[in-house]
């Protein structure tokens, strides 16, 4: 015959306090939890109603009732604006330069006809130790156009090129001329910035220039022969 453990458990004094507390304790504890949850919810709701919640506040862009009643007017206005923007959109042949990714793309309307790896500005800063002048070597951003096309260009070294090398700035103009460093062709985009060739082709794809856009020989020749003067260049 098996022994029954139940009588021993029944005689244990431990469950007695809980039994003493009884149903009242359970009710009180539940009530406290419910109270805390409700208070939390009420506070959150109160905060939201005060305008803290973005989605609960009134839309600032809600149209006035008069506009709501005339959707055809809005439609006509929108169509007109879309036409205006479409007229501004680049058409024909144009260039886009991504200075971050060091990529130049040749576009013909909406079609990309060629993608070229280039080198853009390094973002470096050079200060003239003798004077208060300083240069930031960034490629300019925005819209420009091909203003000049030069075969066998000569680089006229600006002051910074001498300061960077620790050389004295020459007084004669002829002492600034340097042949061959810009490659076979150069396409000017204004303010002394060019799309030109490079001797350092292994650095194409990296930001190493003083602001100009360096291009490999074959791609540069293609651009020189394909892109006419006044072609728009969008740099970003």
């Amino acid at each position: 015959m098996a022994t029954d453990p139940e009588p021993a458990a029944a005689t244990s004094p431990e469950p007695l306090p809980a039994a003493k507390r009884g149903a009242g304790w359970v009710v009180a504890r539940t009530a406290l939890i419910v109270f805390l949850v409700l208070t939390g919810l009420a506070l959150a709701g109160f905060a939201a109603l005060l305008g803290a919640g973005y989605y609960l506040s009134r839309s600032a862009s809600e149209p006035a009732p008069a506009v709501m009643e005339k959707p055809e007017l809005l439609r006509a206005e929108n169509l007109q604006a879309e036409k205006k923007i479409d007229k501004l959109r680049p058409k024909g042949l144009f260039l886009v330069v991504d200075t971050g990714k060091n990529r130049l793309t040749v576009h013909d309307g909406e079609r990309v006809v060629r993608e070229v790896v280039v080198s853009c500005g390094s973002g470096g800063v050079l200060e003239d130790p003798k004077g208060g002048r300083s240069w930031v070597f960034d490629t300019p951003r925005g819209e420009r156009q091909i203003k000049s096309k030069v075969k066998h260009p000569t680089w006229i070294r600006p002051d910074w090129a001498f300061i960077e090398e620790g050389e004295a700035i020459p007084k004669k103009y002829d002492d600034r001329a340097e042949e061959g460093v810009m490659g076979d062709y150069a396409l000017g985009i204004g303010n002394g910035f060019y799309l030109h060739g490079t001797m350092y082709t292994r650095l194409l794809g990296r930001n190493v220039t003083h602001g100009c856009v360096r291009i490999g020989d074959a791609d540069l020749e293609y651009l020189y022969k394909t892109v006419p003067l006044s072609t728009k260049v969008y740099l970003f």
């Binding site: 803290a52 839309s59 862009s61 604006a81 819209e143």
Partner: protein
């Protein structure tokens, strides 16, 4: 009889209230598009690039003359504070804990270039953008891996819980702002930092 009448009645009850609501929705969409286009007509007329922070369709694009130069998707976003309207804005401030800086590189010695060039990979992935109209945008990179992702999610929850208190304080001080957080892929966050320089104009499209 009852079998055919009841579904028909139910359909009428369900459809009737949605018809005016839909037309109001259309009107609001038209109005928002109207505001966006009005802002874009002005910006596209200039030779400068401009950005479009579209929190309704969750993407950010850089444009020029109405043409999209690039577009990045927003992985996650949150907004608190003063309600925003569709319209023009601009970048007034760009803060990062570590602002990238660069020395002059020596291109004749390419091995020395890595720490001397300022390139896309050097751009921060966590930064703040102050937009005109008291809009504070916090950009965070999308975490990868289980634990970093959970930590990020906890951070977002903490932001959602604590931000109302900030908004309430601002309301009491009569200086209300709108806080936006954007989680982007790290490379998209860097690309955006590269592109959105101080003074750049743009269009803000808040969620509906």
């Amino acid at each position: 009889m009852r079998r055919t009448v009841l579904p028909a009645l139910l359909a009428v009850i369900l459809l009737v209230p949605t018809a005016p609501a839909r037309s109001a929705d259309d009107a609001i969409s038209l109005w928002r598009e109207n505001r966006r286009l009005a802002a874009e007509v002005v910006l596209a007329a200039t030779p400068k690039p401009y950005f479009e922070l579209d929190l309704e369709h969750r993407h950010i694009s850089l444009k020029t003359r109405g043409m999209v130069l690039f577009e990045v998707p927003i992985q996650e976003q949150g907004l608190w504070g003063r309600r925003l309207a569709v319209g023009p804005t601009s970048v007034v401030r760009r803060d990062a804990l570590a602002r990238p800086a660069v020395a002059i590189g020596d291109e004749k010695n390419p091995s020395s270039l890595d720490d001397q060039l300022l390139e896309l990979a050097d751009m921060p992935t966590t930064y703040r953008l102050g937009l005109a109209g008291e809009v504070e945008v916090e950009v965070l990179p999308l975490a990868t891996g289980r634990w970093p992702l959970w930590r990020q999610r906890l951070g977002v929850w903490r932001w959602q819980l604590t931000r109302p208190l900030v908004t309430l304080r601002q309301r009491r001080e009569r200086h209300e702002t709108t806080a936006v957080f954007l989680i982007l892929k790290p490379e998209d966050a860097q690309r955006l930092y590269w592109t959105l320089f101080e003074g750049l104009d743009g269009i803000l499209i808040p969620p509906r």
